[in-house]
């Protein structure tokens, strides 16, 4: 047989054989992706921030397609537009997204919070946190070296007077800053809920000894709250976000300005 012809035949035969083999394998073993999941993935922003509580956008898309109980408004990056698109794909009613923003739960600025030492070293919060809290007298407060500002994609965070400050009009609520904070001082909450801007659970006197801006646990807010959403324990007020209605009475009652009611651009 002509060697050229043989070579051509062998190669095309092999190619055909392998192609058919793969086709058959795909037919019997292939995994068909739900077309809904593909469509959902398409309309999610792809930020993979995890703010929805699932492992990235793909995880959220799969969860949405699988269970009708998963809410369509969990994507904080995409907002209402994405929620409406998701609802259209799933054939359910669109719900407005609740805008969530990150808050720094600390007011221990340079003049409020005492220092025990000057920190000289790697200028990240993570490094400083492992070494006498970067010289801060409060073991719970913001270190202020801006690890959160560094990871923020929308440049919403700046460090002012040694405490991270978040521009809520820019914040998309992706929680990246909250994950990177070594002191767990940042939380992402719906805008309507007020925040206790202190995380020091020591008794009032001990808190006052290190920082003039801290929560002393005086219980004024607890008494002011009409829905019982605030409890003071360990000398620190805590707000139950499932009970809170966002009326702002606690913020008005606090004599130290530790509770702040958030409005847009507050």
């Amino acid at each position: 047989m002509n060697p050229v012809l043989l070579a051509v035949l062998l190669l095309s035969g092999l190619g055909l054989f392998l192609g058919i083999g793969l086709g058959v394998a795909n037919h019997f073993m292939g995994v068909k992706e739900d077309p809904k999941v593909t469509a959902l993935k398409g309309c999610l922003p792809g930020a993979n921030c995890g703010a929805c509580g699932f492992s990235g956008c793909a995880g959220y898309a799969e969860a949405l397609a699988k269970s009708p109980n998963v809410r369509t408004n969990l994507c904080v990056v995409g907002g209402d537009a994405v929620s409406a698109q998701i609802a259209a794909i799933l054939g359910t009613e669109a719900k407005a997204t609740e805008r969530r923003v990150a808050r720094v739960r600390c007011r221990g600025t340079a003049d409020a919070c005492k220092r025990t030492a000057d920190y000289v070293g790697v200028t990240t919060c993570r490094a400083a946190a492992s070494y006498y809290n970067g010289g801060s007298a409060c073991a719970y407060g913001c270190i202020g070296l801006g690890d959160c500002a560094a990871v923020c994609d929308v440049q919403a965070i700046s460090v002012r007077q040694g405490v991270a400050a978040i521009d809520e009009s820019l914040c998309v609520g992706c929680e990246k800053c909250a994950r990177v904070c070594p002191k767990d001082r940042i939380t992402v909450l719906p805008v309507r809920i007020p925040t206790v801007l202190c995380g020091n659970p020591e008794k009032g006197a001990a808190t006052k000894a290190v920082c003039t801006a801290g929560c002393v646990g005086c219980k004024l807010c607890e008494r002011a709250c009409e829905v019982g959403a605030i409890t003071v324990s360990d000398g620190l007020a805590r707000i139950d976000k499932t009970k809170c209605v966002g009326c702002g009475k606690c913020a008005a009652a606090c004599r130290f300005g530790v509770i702040r009611l958030h409005t847009e651009n507050a």
Binding site: L11, G21, L22, A25, N26, V31
Partner: protein, 206 residues
């Protein structure tokens, strides 16, 4: 005797003939995936599996089909075709039966399709078997496995080196890829020290 020669092939494939560090094959994933220990191991395991399957198919294909038909010169193109199809098949099977591993490997699986280390092992075992009549299919399979393990060793070693590089104070002009290449060269250099080790251990005949 058989076991001894298989052991020699296995050890040689890991140490003296390490594909990444002495033959410089498969450098792309070596540099690309060695940043983290976990992915380095995952990639190496995938490469090992594909290497063994590829050798198991191409070795008989060459000796039983290409050589009798006088088409040995088609070796490279046929092997690429076979390896590409095999990787696709492995991908389909993994996606169906072990989705967790499939997701963990992610992009690396398709990348293996064009990994020269896989093509390299299939061709080099044939060269060895042509040069030495006692080199059988079993030797080829052990060689493929050993090469995969060698790949794993190189990846894991280098992942360790890179983790230390992360915290090292590198001159600015060398940051990133330059220092990675330099440290890869030093690790490769250290593998030269294994030269002659296997012959010495098992008394020649490798």
């Amino acid at each position: 005797m058989m076991i001894k020669s298989l052991l020699a092939v296995f050890l040689a494939a890991i140490l003296t003939e390490n594909y990444v560090l002495t033959k410089f094959l498969g450098i792309c994933p070596f540099l690309g995936v060695s940043k983290k220990f976990g992915t380095a191991v995952g990639m190496s395991v995938a490469v090992t599996v594909v290497m063994m399957i590829a050798t198991a198919v191409t070795f008989p294909l060459y000796t039983l089909v290409l050589v009798p038909l006088d088409l040995a010169y088609l070796q490279t193109i046929v092997f690429i075709l076979v390896i590409a199809a095999l990787v696709q098949l492995v991908e389909i099977v993994l996606k169906r039966y072990i989705p967790a591993l499939y997701r963990a490997l992610g992009i690396y699986l398709p990348l293996i399709t064009t990994n020269c280390a896989v093509l390299g092992i299939t061709i080099l075992v044939l060269e060895k078997s042509a040069a030495d009549a006692s080199y059988t299919f079993l030797h080829a399979m052990v060689n493929a496995f050993g090469t995969g393990v060698g790949y794993l060793v190189a990846m894991v070693l280098f992942a360790g080196v890179r983790e230390r590089l992360e915290s090292a104070d590198v001159p600015r002009s060398l940051k990133g890829l330059p220092i990675t290449l330099i440290s890869a060269a030093i690790v490769a250099l250290s593998f030269l020290g294994f030269g002659g080790l296997v012959e010495g251990l098992l008394g020649g005949g490798v």
